[in-house]
């Protein structure tokens, strides 16, 4: 366990250093009121190539699968989304604690407890009706952001899509912090480590894959509209990704906090 926390700390340190050393090949930036929110391009050529690859894979595999999933009855889709969301909430809970968001952690723990039992393994969401609303997902990239780590540079990973140095480190941190990953990948019961040999690794990938398909299915029209109306789809997705991450790190829905007004200041048209 200590070894895992050491790894996380090393990754966090790496993220800080990467932010400082991030080289820039492209000049496009999403700059906000804080320099920490700046994300420069590191490997734009590589990223655009990966973006094309991902876009092709989406057209051939993910979108058709999402459309097939969309054909399922609404209650089935809703239950599937609830089930994967319930499992995902464990990673959120770990990060709530690391961020010192104990109220949110309590809310998530209550939601998980109620939905896993009364909600029959999370297929239903009675917790929301009892006042324990879903307060959004958290991951280790967001936690690093809360701790003050800058975004570093922006790039696109094959299959996994847009990310930044901080968020890529966060992906690795998620492995250590996600109880579902640990349970499905760790069968060292005899050594006293959390785990269960009955849960095989592929269950984890089914759960993550199903969550991804559910998300894609909910956003078919949005993706189509974005694609149809973009003059540079790569840049659009980059902007949306960075705005979204900033909002999630701030845990804020206030426009004043999440959007930078200064850009509008000098524009007067009436």
């Amino acid at each position: 366990m200590i070894r895992k926390f050491t790894c996380i700390l090393i990754f966090a340190l790496f993220a800080h250093v990467s932010t400082l050393n991030a080289g820039t090949t492209g000049s496009e930036e999403l700059t906000s009121s804080s320099s920490k929110d700046t994300a420069s391009e590191c490997f734009e050529g590589f990223s655009r190539a990966m973006f094309k690859l991902n876009h092709g894979l989406d057209k051939v595999i993910f979108e058709p699968v999402a459309k097939g999933y969309r054909a399922l009855p609404v209650p089935v889709r809703k239950a599937t989304g609830n089930f994967t969301g319930n499992l995902r909430s464990l990673l959120t809970l770990s990060n709530n604690v690391l961020q010192g968001e104990f109220s949110r952690a309590g809310n998530n723990a209550a939601r998980f407890g109620i939905n896993t039992t009364v909600g029959i393994l999370g297929f239903f969401d009675p917790a929301a009706k009892l006042g324990f609303e879903d307060q959004g997902k958290e991951d280790f990239g967001q936690t690093l952001g809360r701790w003050g780590t800058g975004a570093g540079c922006y790039f696109v990973l094959p299959i996994l899509g847009p990310t930044t140095t901080r968020d890529a480190v966060g992906l690795i941190g998620n492995i250590f912090l996600d109880p579902v990953y640990q349970i499905t990948h760790n069968s060292e019961i005899d050594n006293g480590v959390v785990g269960n040999g009955n849960y095989s690794e592929h269950n984890y990938y089914y759960y993550r894959g199903t969550g991804a398909v559910d998300f894609r299915a909910k956003n078919i029209e949005s993706f189509d509209s974005l694609e149809e109306n973009s003059i540079d789809l790569y840049a659009s997705l980059k902007s949306l990704y960075l705005q979204n991450r900033k909002q999630k790190i701030l845990n804020s829905k206030s426009t004043i906090e999440t959007q930078d007004d200064s850009d509008w200041e000098e524009i007067d048209t009436n």
Binding site: G26, S27, E28, L30, R70, V74, K218, I220, E221, S225, E228, N229, S230, I231, D232, Y234, A235, S236, K238, S239, L240, Q243, N244, Q247, K253, S254, T255, I256, T258, Q259, D261, D263, W264, I267, D268, T269, N270
Partner: protein
């Protein structure tokens, strides 16, 4: 007879006024836009009719010129007067095509206008919710309303689930210019290609 004539004139004037001007209260202003857009979208399946009517609505209620300046960012300082004129014409066509294309796919959107947040004398955010349906979850939509002229509010941005469309567009324009070594006129070509699509 004369009395009836005046009544008819007043009714026509009243209807005309209602059709071509909107409320100065930002929340009411957005509510009227939402209602009008909905009327257009449920009236017919004709895409041409919807496009024309939504374009009229946008021209009346969106600060297209302001969004055009914003989208170009600092690059607007590099354009001479003629280029700026050309850009504004191109942008309006681009904007209307993009705006109407995004909306015409909705057949019966249900939007609740919820509340307002006054940022400063020049800007008010109107918060609304696009209600969920069988295909899509509910979506929070915020409208950045430019209120410098309180009698004529204008929309400058839509912020969907915290993501600004104007900002995204600005980043996109910037990317097109940067990938063409800072040549702003290359953006014009890209816009023309989009309009002709």
């Amino acid at each position: 007879m004369k009395k009836n004539f005046f009544i008819i004139v007043f009714i026509i004037l009243g209807l005309t006024h209602k059709s071509f001007s909107n409320s100065s209260d930002p929340k009411q202003f957005i509510q009227e836009i939402v209602d009008e857009a909905k009327q257009v979208l449920v009236a017919t399946n004709s895409k041409e009719y919807k496009t024309n009517k939504l374009s009229e609505l946008a021209l009346r209620t969106v600060d297209i010129k302001g969004v055009a300046y914003y989208s170009l960012g600092n690059y607007r300082k590099e354009l001479n007067e003629e280029e700026m004129k050309e850009y504004l014409v191109l942008f309006e066509k681009y904007f209307l095509k993009s705006f109407t294309s995004r909306l015409t796919d909705y057949s019966d959107p249900k939007i609740d206008v919820l509340s307002i947040e006054v940022l400063n004398p020049k800007y008010t955010i109107v918060k609304s919710l696009l209600l969920a349906n069988d295909k899509k979850p509910a979506v929070n939509i915020e409208w950045r309303v430019y209120t410098k002229n309180p009698d004529k509010p204008l929309i400058r941005d839509l912020i969907i689930e915290g993501l600004s469309l104007a900002r995204t567009q600005k980043e996109e324009f910037s990317s097109v210019i940067e990938t063409n070594n800072g040549d702003v006129t290359k953006l014009f070509i890209t816009l023309k290609e989009f309009i002709a699509k």
